[in-house]
C-alpha cells in the first residue's frame, strides 16, 4: 500500500512543480526584477505567477481546440519551461546602476538573527500543526461547494475541452401555485458564479498526476495556495517596513497573526476544506499583486519597476479569470489607496502623475496590457463580464444580508484581538499619513496601500451602501483578516521597538505579555473551530452508490435523468462529479436534487417536483413530474425515505447499502 501511495505523491508534487512553480520561477529569472528578489521571494512569487501562466496557457490550448489530456498538458508545461529557459539564456540582462544596491538591500533584509530564524520556523511549525490538525478531520471530500467546483474540473478532465458554464433549469409550470403544479425543463441558463480560472489548474494537476478528483488533491492544492498567501504576507510586511529597524520583527508578528493564530475560522483552513476556491486563490493573487505593485512603485530602477508592473498586470488578468469578488475587492482597495495617496500628495500631484506615466507608458508594459485585453475580448471572456451580473453586484444593497455587518460582527469574524490590534495599528499608520506622528522608514506608498486595504474592506463590509456595493457582506468581511494581520503585526513590532529604544525595564514584560495574550486568544479561537471526526463511512457509501449508478446508467440516451436527496444523504453533491467521470455530456443539474425542506417554504414559487418525487412518489403530481422531467432513478437515504418507494409498483429497487438506496422507475 505504501509504494503506490509514494508513487502517487511523487506524481502529485511533480504536477504541482510543472504547473505552478517552474513556469513562475523561470518567468522571474527571465525578468529584470530577478536581481531585486531574494530566493525566498522568487519561490513564493513563482506560485501565483506560475498559476497565471498555466491558466492562460490552457485557455490558449482550448481556443486552439487542442484537447487537454495528460500528454498535452505535460508537453505544454515542457514547452513553456523550455521557451522561458531559452529567453533567459538568450536575453542579455541589462544591468542598471542600482543592481548592487538591490542585492545588498535584499541581503540585509533577509539577514535574520539566529533567534529570528528559529522564531520563524517555530511559527511555521505551529501553523502547519494547527491547520493540519483541523484538516485531518475535514480533508475527506464531502463539502458541497467543493463538490460543485469539482464537477467542472472532472468535466474538463473527461472531455479535454474548456467547459461552458451552463445548466438546465427546472421551473414550475404555474409558479403562483408551485406547490401543486408540475414542473418542466425551461431551457439552459448560464452560471456566472463559476469562472474558468478556478478550475483549469485543478484539471491540469489532476491530468498530470492521474489523481482522482474525488480525493484529497483539490483541498491539498488549495492548502498550498493558502500557505503561499501567508508567506507572501510575511514578505510584504518585510518589504513594507524594510526602512525601519523592526522590519523582521513586524514580519514575524504578521506571520503569527495570519499563520497559527485564528488559523481555522474565516478565509483560512475552513475555506480550504470547504472548497471556497475563488476566495483562496483570489487572496493569493491579491496579496501577490499588491506586493509587486508596491515593489514597482518604490523601486529606484525604472526598468525593474516596469518589470514588477508587468507582473502586476499578469496577476490582475489572472484574477479577472479566477474570481469576480476578489477582483472587485482589489479594485476598491486600489481606489482607496490612490485616493489616500492623491489627498496626501495633492501639492505634488503633477510629479506623481509623471512618475506613474513613466512606469506605465513604455512599449513592453503597453504591449503586455494590449495582449491581456485582447485575450479578454478575443480568446475567452469570463462568464460574469456582462451588464446583468455587474449591475447585480453594484448599486444599493437589495437584501438584508448585503446592507453591511455590525462593527462587532466584523471584529468577531476577524478574531477580536487581531481586529483590535490591527485597528490600533491602522490608527497609528493613519496618524503618520496625516502627519500627526512621524514613522521614519515607512514610505508613503506603504502607508496608502496598507490603509487603503484595511479601510476599503472595512467600509465595504460595514457600510456597503455608501460605496455602491451589493454583495453578501459576510463574504466581503472575510477578506479583511489579511490587512489586519499586517497592521497588527506592525503595531506589536513598533511598540516593542519603542519600548526597547528607551531601554525601559519593562520591555521584556511587554513582549511576553503581547505574545501570551495573542497566543491564548488566537489558539482559543482555533480550539473553538475544530470539528469532530467526519462521517466518512456514510460518504464512502454515497460515492459507492454514485459509482454504481454512473457506470450502469445508459449512455446512449442523454435524456435519462436522476434524482437524489440533499437533506439526509452525506456528500450527495459529489454524485454529479462521479457522473461526470462516466459521461462527458452529463449536465451540472444531473442528478436533480431535493433541496433543503426550508427552501421550498421560503421560496414558494420554486418548483416542487423535486420535493414531491421523493416525499410522495405515488401521488399524481409526482407521476407527472417523473414523466415531464424524464427521471429514471431516485437515490434516497435507506432508513429515511425508502418506505414510500417500497410500497409502490412503479419502482424497482436496484441498489442498497447501509445509508443509500437507489430505485429505478419502470
Amino acid at each position: 500500500m505504501i509504494m503506490p501511495f509514494l508513487f502517487q505523491q511523487t506524481l502529485f508534487y511533480g504536477a504541482l512543480f510543472l504547473t505552478m512553480v517552474a513556469p513562475g520561477y523561470l518567468l522571474i529569472l527571465c525578468s529584470r526584477s530577478c536581481a531585486s528578489l531574494h530566493l525566498f521571494e522568487r519561490l513564493a512569487l513563482s506560485v501565483p505567477l506560475g498559476f497565471s501562466l498555466t491558466t492562460f496557457g490552457y485557455l490558449f490550448l482550448g481556443k486552439l481546440h487542442i484537447t487537454l489530456t495528460a500528454q498535452s498538458v505535460f508537453l505544454f508545461a515542457l514547452f513553456l519551461c523550455c521557451i522561458l529557459l531559452v529567453v533567459k539564456t538568450l536575453r542579455k540582462m541589462q544591468s542598471c546602476q542600482h543592481s548592487d544596491d538591490c542585492r545588498e538591500e535584499s541581503r540585509e533584509l533577509f539577514s535574520w538573527t539566529r533567534l529570528q530564524g528559529y522564531a520563524f520556523l517555530l511559527i511555521a511549525t505551529l501553523m502547519l500543526f494547527v491547520k493540519g490538525f483541523y484538516l485531518m478531520n475535514t480533508i475527506f471530500p464531502t463539502s458541497t461547494d467543493l463538490g460543485h467546483h469539482m464537477f467542472w474540473v472532472q468535466k474538463i478532465m473527461t472531455t479535454g475541452e474548456l467547459p461552458v458554464y451552463e445548466k438546465v433549469i427546472v421551473e414550475s409550470d404555474a409558479p403562483d401555485m408551485a406547490a401543486t403544479s408540475p414542473a418542466s425543463f425551461a431551457g439552459v441558463q448560464s452560471i456566472p458564479d463559476f469562472i474558468i480560472g478556478e478550475h483549469l489548474i485543478f484539471a491540469g494537476i489532476g491530468l498530470l498526476s492521474a489523481s482522482d478528483v474525488v480525493s484529497a488533491f483539490p483541498s491539498l492544492v488549495l492548502f498550498l495556495v493558502h500557505l503561499i498567501t501567508i508567506f507572501l504576507m510575511v514578505l510584504l510586511a518585510l518589504r513594507i517596513f524594510s526602512g525601519t529597524r523592526y522590519a523582521q520583527s513586524a514580519a514575524l508578528w504578521t506571520f503569527l497573526f495570519i499563520g497559527p493564530l485564528y488559523a481555522i475560522s474565516g478565509a483560512q483552513a475552513k475555506f480550504v476544506s470547504g472548497g471556497v476556491v475563488g476566495n483562496i486563490i483570489g487572496n493569493m493573487l491579491i496579496v501577490a499583486a499588491l506586493y509587486v505593485l508596491y515593489r514597482s512603485l518604490t523601486h529606484s530602477c525604472i526598468s525593474r519597476a516596469r518589470s514588477f508592473l508587468m507582473f502586476f498586470f499578469l496577476l490582475l488578468f489572472a484574477l479577472i479569470y479566477t474570481h469576480h469578488l476578489s477582483l472587485f475587492i482589489l479594485g476598491y482597495v486600489l481606489v482607496f489607496s490612490i485616493v489616500l495617496y492623491v489627498l496626501r500628495h495633492a501639492l505634488r500631484l503633477r510629479e506623481t502623475l509623471l512618475q506613474w506615466g513613466r512606469l506605465l507608458f513604455c512599449a513592453p508594459v503597453l504591449v503586455f496590457l494590449a495582449l491581456g485585453v485582447t485575450c479578454l475580448i478575443a480568446i475567452h471572456t469570463p462568464s460574469y463580464l456582462n451588464v446583468e451580473t455587474v449591475s447585480s453586484a453594484t448599486g444599493t444593497p437589495e437584501k438584508s444580508t448585503r446592507v453591511g455587518l455590525p462593527f462587532a460582527q466584523v471584529a468577531d469574524m476577524s478574531g477580536s484581538l487581531r481586529f483590535f490590534l490591527g485597528a490600533l495599528g491602522a490608527l497609528v499608520l493613519g496618524g503618520a499619513l496625516i502627519g500627526v506622528r512621524k514613522l521614519p522608514g515607512i514610505p508613503l506608498y506603504a502607508l496608502c496601500i496598507l490603509l487603503g486595504w484595511v479601510v476599503g474592506i472595512f467600509f465595504m463590509s460595514v457600510a456597503p451602501g455608501l460605496l455602491g456595493v451589493n454583495i453578501l457582506s459576510t463574504r466581503i468581511a472575510a477578506y479583511i483578516i489579511f490587512p489586519l494581520a499586517l497592521t497588527a503585526g506592525f503595531l506589536c513590532a513598533w511598540l516593542i521597538a519603542l519600548v526597547q529604544s528607551r531601554y525601559h525595564p519593562l520591555a521584556l514584560h511587554v513582549i511576553l505579555f503581547l505574545v501570551i495574550v495573542a497566543l491564548a486568544h488566537g489558539m482559543r479561537d482555533n480550539s473553538q473551530s475544530l470539528v469532530s471526526e467526519p462521517k466518512t463511512q456514510d460518504a464512502v457509501q454515497t460515492f459507492h452508490a454514485a459509482d454504481y449508478l454512473g457506470s450502469t446508467l445508459p449512455r446512449a440516451d442523454d435524456s435519462v435523468w436522476s434524482l437524489k436527496d440533499h437533506n439526509y444523504i452525506v456528500a450527495d453533491t459529489w454524485m454529479k462529479v462521479i457522473f461526470a467521470r462516466y459521461s462527458p455530456q452529463t449536465d451540472y443539474s444531473n442528478p436533480l436534487s431535493r433541496g433543503f425542506f426550508a427552501r421550498y417554504e421560503s421560496k414558494p414559487r420554486r418548483e416542487h417536483c423535486t420535493l414531491t418525487m421523493i416525499s410522495d412518489p405515488g401521488s399524481p403530481l409526482a407521476k407527472t413530474c417523473f414523466d415531464n422531467l424524464s427521471v429514471s432513478t431516485v437515490t434516497v437515504h435507506t432508513t429515511q425515505d425508502s418506505g414510500q418507494f417500497d410500497v409502490l409498483d412503479d419502482f424497482v429497487k436496484v441498489y442498497e447499502n447501509d445509508v443509500v438506496t437507489t430505485y429505478w422507475r419502470k
Partner: protein, 115 residues
Amino acid sequence: MKHNTFILLLAVLIMGTMSTLAWVERSQSSPVNDKDWWALSYVSPSPSATVFDFVIENFSSSERFEYRVDSATYTASDVILVPAGERSVVALPDDLVSPVTITVQSSTDEKTLYK
C-alpha cells in the same frame, strides 16, 4: 542558518504536512479501513433487463451471507462467503419472470432488491 537550508527545511515541513493529510484521506476513503458495511446491487439494473444476477460487495467483518430468491416460478436459497474487501456475483437462471425479490442477510442486517 543558511538560507538554502532554511528554505529546504520549510519545504520539507510543508510537504510532510501535505503528504500526511493525503495519507489520512486515503485511509478514510478506503471502503475497508475502519468501516463496517456492505452493498447489494443488480448486475443489470434496468427494469427492462431480464437478467437478475446480483452482486454482494462486502466491506464488513462478517463474511457469511445467506440469500433467498423468490418469484412466482422459482425459489432458491443458499449461503455464500464473501471475504472483506471483495465482491461476489450470484448468477440466477435466465428464464426468471418478474417480479423477483432477492433478500440477502448478513449476521447483522438484511437488504433486499426487487424488480
